[in-house]
Amino acid sequence: MNDITSQNLNELIKNIKDKKVSSEEVTKSFIKRAEKSKTLNCYITEDFDSAINKAKKFDNKPNFNLKLPGIPIAVKDLFCTKDVKTTAGSKILNNFIPTYESTVTQNLWDEGAILLGKLNCDEFAMGSSNETSFFGNVQNPIDLNLVPGGSSGGSSAALASNLTPVTIGTDTGGSIRQPASFTGTVGLKPTYGSCSRYGIVAFASSLDQAGPMAKNVKDCALLQEVISSYDSKDSTSIDFKRNNYSKLLKNDIKGKKIGIPREYRVEGMPKEIEDLWIKGKELVKECGAEVIDISLPHTNFALPAYYIVAPAEASSNLARYDGVKYGFRSQGENLIDMYEKTRSEGFGNEVKRRIMIGTYVLSSGYYDAYYLKAQKVRKLIKNDFDEAYKTVDAIITPSTPSSAFKIGEKTNDPVSMYLNDIFTVPVNLAGLPGISIPAGLDNKGYPLGLQIIGKAFDEQNLLNIAYALEEKINFQNNIKEWWIK
């Protein structure tokens, strides 16, 4: 048997069911490794003692019919966890202890999983490098001083460094797929309405989706079938037939039609990424699927539209942080002064920047020029995909326009940071499912990902295509354990 922490989710489940290892042993192994991996700064809050107790409890009365029997899991610190501090990576929530549980995490615990702790992320999920977190940078295990991507950067780093067998993140404009791509892991952003948003700290409500991150597609499929559920507590949750994705997973994609959108060939994209895309196309053909050139003509307008819609919704969602009912409060001379000081001291620079953008585009006299315009562009982008899906079953693109970059490299130029999400943002605007799978290494040995975009509610086909490609690609991550102490 491999070292416990390097096993994938399905291996761990099998070994626990076969009683080759107990939940307690598994849990303690991940905790021991986390304690040697503090340099990575993956955790904001550890819940280790409680995890060991829960594991012991499971071992005393095991239920092997559950989908995640006694499996310890760390999750992004954007999910509210009852009685466990939930910060969203922000000073303003640094003392917030939820009295309720998010639906997505509750689904994990109901299937036997055990909370290890809460993982670092960009503040309120606003960022592409985990550098906006109040709790500091996260190190990408791939190389020293490399960002793990964002906003689910603690999640991607913890997964790639074997601190958790799988994890969940959230994706508003690429926050699952981009960090997965930067760390050589698999990340799925499900169809909007697939996973409940109840109990997830809100960023941009019409774009936010929770999703699984895993070491392979099969683990990802299993986790998706656990977390995806209809939930009356989220008014945008959609009641559709959810599959047992992992059971129905198959690598036969013969006859499927896969689209290659010409607009994703962007200026200045490294040749390695272009080559990777071409390789992806060839592999699709080898699997017996058909490759079709398509056009998504409004792709170029997705990112500017996103930077109106997302900040507008954020400025509205974050109005609740006023120092009155929960969270950080600064002392003020009067009520207004208290609000202004609390928000000024409690939020970091990127969050303030986005609140300001959002407030501006929604302010009197500007609504039509910005917000309404962006909603119209969003419609055009959705129409592009609807048109494409008349001829293809799925679409393949690169996940990101570059591999992981160095910490500090892009912090002074917000627009260059935003460009990271150029390939992932259109998917959120159109509410579609998208998955990033590792597809190769660049000349520095850093992972590169391919993104597959599916039809709404068609996670099964999306996962099948990813599964078939994963087998052909046979990706090997190159991680030297430089951080272990």
Binding site: Y192, T236, Y326, G327, Y360, K379, V415
Partner: protein, 95 residues
């Protein structure tokens, strides 16, 4: 279009985020480069396009209007930065 210092101050007032002059200048620069990028959208004629108002084309479900949470006062007040027995406490607003 350029966003000047006065506009930044006005937005910060609307957003209830206090900001000093030095930071406001830096923010004005950032916002101008972001809006230069955003204004690419003006190249697109959207006169005849209906705005997208909901990504999920379903009608909202109705539910029975009933109380499900009972006796949760303590839970609600638990994270309050300043409270007495039954209330959230804020700085004095009435003289």
């Amino acid at each position: 279009m350029t966003i000047d210092l006065k506009t930044v101050k006005h937005i910060s007032k609307l957003a209830r985020i206090s900001i000093d002059d030095e930071k406001a200048k830096k923010l004005a620069n950032d916002l101008n480069s972001i809006f230069e990028f955003i204004e690419k959208l003006n190249k697109l004629n959207t006169e005849k396009v209906e705005p997208l108002t909901s990504i999920a084309e379903t009608t909202l479900k109705l539910r029975i209007d009933e109380v499900k949470s009972k006796n949760i006062r303590e839970q609600i007040l638990k994270n309050s930065p300043d409270k007495n027995k039954d209330f959230f406490v804020v700085p004095k607003v009435v003289e």
